[in-house]
């Protein structure tokens, strides 16, 4: 009984603050990352050769470097060349750029899978290339890319725990501090793990719902699980 009271009074408020911080990290990173992914994905398929090249290099490095290395680069590396970032800013930038690179891959693959006739048909109606890409090709590609993008959002929820490693104290960080302070590692990390499970499950459910909503016949949709 004491245990429960202790958890309610001492631990819960702190962890909730951690959850809030995690959400403040995840949501902007997801939005920026998705946006970066769409732009660089389009560049890689329909861009000017130079842009294609640049977008390709971006994806190569940001998918190839471990996320933790990237975070260290932003947080510990940049100050050495005169750029100072707060832990929060370093984490959001790191997450956005890394997940943008993954999104980019899914968008690219989906764009390439759209039948060639679609672009020709758009041209034949007098669409410009940019218009055709944004109003004909992307809407089709997005439906195919969404399972991949969705998985990426779910990964982001889990990888947000790495922000703690650059001293941005979110859920994992709070848990770690509490566990060290009260010397209750098992209980507190179990609770922290359970909170992540809940967040991931809610996101999975939401994405499945979203996909059902935008589904149209002829575009098969694999389920997340």
């Amino acid at each position: 009984m004491d245990e429960l009271l202790f958890l309610r009074q001492e631990v819960a408020p702190e962890l909730l603050a951690g959850v809030w911080m995690s959400i403040k990290l995840i949501v902007p990173s997801a939005i920026f990352g998705f946006f970066i992914g769409i732009v660089s994905g389009v560049f890689r398929v329909y861009g000017h050769p130079v842009l294609k090249r640049l977008a390709g290099l971006y994806v190569l490095f940001f998918r190839g470097f471990p996320l933790l290395v990237q975070l260290y680069l932003w947080y510990f590396g940049l100050p050495r060349i005169g750029i100072y970032l707060s832990p929060f800013a370093a984490a959001v930038i790191g997450f956005s750029l890394c997940s943008g690179a993954y999104h980019s891959e899914y968008i690219r693959g989906a764009l390439l899978s759209v039948k060639k006739g679609q672009l020709l048909a758009a041209y034949s109606l007098g669409f410009s290339k940019i218009r055709a890409v944004f109003s004909i090709l992307l809407p089709q590609a997005m439906r195919r890319a969404l399972p991949g993008n969705g998985n990426e959002f779910i990964y982001l929820i889990k990888y947000s725990s790495l922000a703690y490693m650059v001293t941005c104290i979110e859920l994992t960080g709070k848990g770690s501090i509490l566990a060290n302070f009260y010397f209750k590692y098992l209980e507190i990390f179990a609770i922290v793990g359970a909170i992540y499970l809940v967040m991931v499950s809610i996101a999975t459910w939401g994405l499945n719902y979203l996909e059902d909503r935008i589904a149209i016949p002829g575009f098969g949709r694999p389920k997340y699980n």
Partner: protein
Amino acid sequence: MLQGFIVISENLPYILGGIWVTLTVVVGALIMGLSLGLVLSVAQVYGSRVVRRTVGVYVWFFRGIPLLVLLFLFYFGILANLQIELSPFIVSIIVLGLISSAYQSQIIRGAILSLPEGQLKAARSIGMSDSKAIVFVILPQAIRLSIPGWTNEYTIILKDSAVTYALGVTEILARSRHVAERTYQHFWIYILAGCIFLLLTYVGTKLFQILEEKVRTPGYTQ
């Protein structure tokens, strides 16, 4: 900058020594993940309702919790409470292996489910028991189909293995951090560390491609 490169090159052998540690963790986790994943996938496809559900919960658990939290939970929480003393190195392999088994089980399960139903029927029609059919007919095909998935899994675990630094495993990132703290060359050293991972990804992917080509059934495309 020139001075930076001199400092880095002096410390290069120490950082590169981390490759061996990283690869041991990664390969250990992949092998553990494969053996467990095989069992889990077969259980999830062919098992009873209860078994299937249990595997489902296992997969949900290990795919839903961040690696960092699982490392802390196992190392500081579970193992300490059970008074089992294992090195961070071993715990890292186990935790990465458990996570990987959850992902690999889904890769193999997908491969099993993608095989035509007739394969199992044909095996039964010549009198094979189900367990024989799974071992001699289903898994040899499913494993071949799983190789592209493993390639992916390798690159993910390779990058995730950097997180084991949080427990104090002296892999590539840990050593880089160490050198960076001493030399103040954080920027270039982390770029170097990233490039080492990039190189390992490249080499590993190539090796898997060779493997895939080697075990490919002639004429078979899916």
